[in-house]
Amino acid sequence: MPAKDCENISRRLSAYMDGELPEREREAAESHLASCAACSEELASLRAASAAVSALPRVEPPPFFAARTAAAAKALNGAGPLRAFLRFPLPAAAVLTAFIIFNIFAFARDIDAMENGQRRELTHKVVSQLVRPSTLINPVAVARLCSECTDFMCQCMHEAGKQSICPCKNCRMHRENPDRAGEVPAHALEEDHVN
């Protein structure tokens, strides 16, 4: 038997014993094996190796494995609506982006309603805070900035006689001075009159 034939067949013996050879190659392997003792012996040793592994003792799953796994799966669901929401990153990102854009527009509208000087002062205040990276990752600083902005806007709106568009829910100016809340300052009246 030519050694080259043996080499070619030998490399494919594993596929032959697993029934993974195409019809033609399987027939060629069978006819070679019928006449080659060395390759037949190698095939037998490969089969013995597989059989030895197959005969290894099997382990049983631990008691209540399925119940424990199902409980762990349920716990994934019960981790709260926020986590469930964040499991879908695209819609979550879209909602968060829409929320941020809405707030930017609301902020811009409020700023737009302010006098030029006040607008510049507030913009300067916000930008000088936000350019500091520590502010962006510090929720306390961001909250303080928002609170300061709201107070500042509130003050400006009231001083300008534009209480109707004051961004406050529970206006500090109104609480501190309820009698004057509806009053329109003289300079604002003058402005209105001029306009």
Binding site: A15, S50, V59, P62
Partner: protein, 189 residues
């Protein structure tokens, strides 16, 4: 619908039931596949506790992925793919694998003698010694060869399925299986 082998519902039906909100279907999926999965992972990782943890993690991944799976998906192949990837990651973290080789208490002569006294203590001891020798030889194979061989011998998977689970080509799987069997045959002579 049931499959012919063990009377358990087919994966297709279980997946459909699970995706239509039947929480019990997931428990049945775990019951159906846990034994085979843990055996595969145990022989791959050589550590029973680790095998059980990885099996649970693989089922949880399947749980998360299930709503996106099509009814035609082969659940057990996907499950083994998750498990294999987890085991590969775990193996990368383990540096003392060689110290575990052949040290499985399941294959030790003492354990086998206690578990199966019927053939007589000498025969049981001899069988267990042989099991330990085979387990040691198997553990000594490179990870990819051992993974492919376990999927073929324990699971009787086709080369195409093994290739899918291990993210390899079919010729690569064929080569791995041939080398694994050849090495084992030499060691067990």
């Amino acid at each position: 619908m049931t499959d012919g082998k063990n009377g358990l519902p087919e994966d297709f039906d279980l997946l459909t039931e699970f995706n239509s909100g039947d929480g019990g279907a997931f428990t049945r999926i775990v019951e159906k596949h846990s034994g085979r999965l843990i055996n595969f992972l145990f022989r791959y990782t050589l550590d029973r506790g680790e095998a059980e943890d990885l099996a649970q993690e693989a089922f949880l991944r399947l749980y998360k992925a299930a709503p996106g799976l099509t009814p035609g998906a082969k659940l057990s192949t996907i499950l083994f793919k998750f498990a294999y990837n987890l085991a590969v990651d775990q193996a990368r973290r383990n540096t003392n694998r060689s110290s575990l080789a052949g040290a499985s208490s399941l294959d030790s002569p003492e354990a086998a003698g206690a578990a199966d006294p019927a053939p007589g203590p000498d025969a049981a001891y001899e069988a267990a010694r042989r099991s330990e020798e085979i387990a040691g030889a198997l553990a000594g194979l490179p990870d990819t060869q051992r993974g492919a061989l376990l999927l073929k011998v324990f699971e009787d998977r086709s080369y195409a399925e093994i290739a899918e689970i291990m993210a390899l080509s079919v010729p690569a799987v064929e080569s791995l299986l041939f080398r694994a069997r050849q090495t084992l045959a030499k060691k067990l002579k």
